[in-house]
Amino acid sequence: MKFATRTKLEIFVEAHAVDEIERMLRDVGFKGCSVFAGVEGAGSHGAWRQTGVEEAGMRLVVTIGAEEAAEAALHWLENYFAAYPGVVAMSEVKVLRAERF
């Protein structure tokens, strides 16, 4: 199998930010991303739970691409997290079908 090395970002943000983050990821060079809905968890502000009432939706945006694109996204996210809640993790991953990333 022929693996290639790419950079993965896992961005955990409130649901209202997803459109803006998807747009930013395209702008900095990522070819795509996947969005997953959060159910419940706990963080620095205590426990949270997704309900149908309060609309406190949390989303995990996962994307894989070039390291330069990931660094540009991190720069944007640093500004974003100055005002809004959320976290991001970056890691190096090995992928098949490298042309897709």
Partner: protein, 332 residues
Amino acid sequence: MGALESIVAGAATNLVAPAVLFFALGAIAGWLKSDLTIPEQAAKTLALYLMLCIGFKGGVEARASGLTAELVSAGGFGLVLSFAAPFAAYAALRGFGGLDRVTAAATAAHYGSVSVVTFAAGSEYLRAIGIEFGGYMAAVLALMETPAILAALLIAGAPGSKPDSAQSARFKSTLWREVFLNGAAVVLIGSFVIGVMSGERGMARLDLFVNALFQGALCLFLLDMGLVASRRLAEAPKLNVRLIAFAISWPLLSAGVALLGAQALHLSLGDASLLAVLSASASYIAAPAAMRIALPKADAGVYLSLSLGITFPFNLLVGIPLYHAAARLLYG
């Protein structure tokens, strides 16, 4: 029957209403840490269903009664109340409640905006005791959702918390879309317009859906609200006695102001009672969504715990019959 007996009878009727009892069941289940849950998507669907019914029924009734002076005056007064309330609430939350500026502004938005489910419960209560009200009150409900959010933005000086100007422009478009085109507002206003357009013939087709099933759906939604409210309250150690006092006394004050205004505008007893219910209610759908975008530094634990954990149950259990009783006393 004397005034006091009538108030007690009304309160008793309210407390044994199925919707209220299902709310209590949800609250007790949440308090006892039962594994009872209403799936998120089911709860969202129920919320949309309730708004569709309220909007559609209101539209049909508004068409039947036409554009009346009562609709104009109730709507205009509702707008003023919703816009002005956050300024007074903000002063109280800062001075009396001791909240920081941003959290006080966000909380004030919740108390100026309105709760659809409190309105639904108030409407059902009035129907149960045979008090008539105008269908156009659904339009007043829709009108009162947004002005408070705009007032809170003025108070807090938002938007503008994002450092980058390109981000800020995108942020503003997201915020305005959330304020004016959030799903709840679209369904409520859209259903009202559809009700006005289709009238009685439309109602004949949807009668089973929007009338017969409504009470059952309200019970199921309130079961979920009980669960959410009790869990929200259990996770709210930040609330002090002053904030809890605000969450109970503010609705009483708002309802009083609404009733005095309604009487001055010669609104009917039913309309006055519903206007008081609306004014006393606190938002937990539209306002939190907007505040998360506009005022992200505000403490959601405070404003959601107050509106959902204290004010909503208070209005549902005590407030609704109390506001109607006060309206009756005022109207003689």
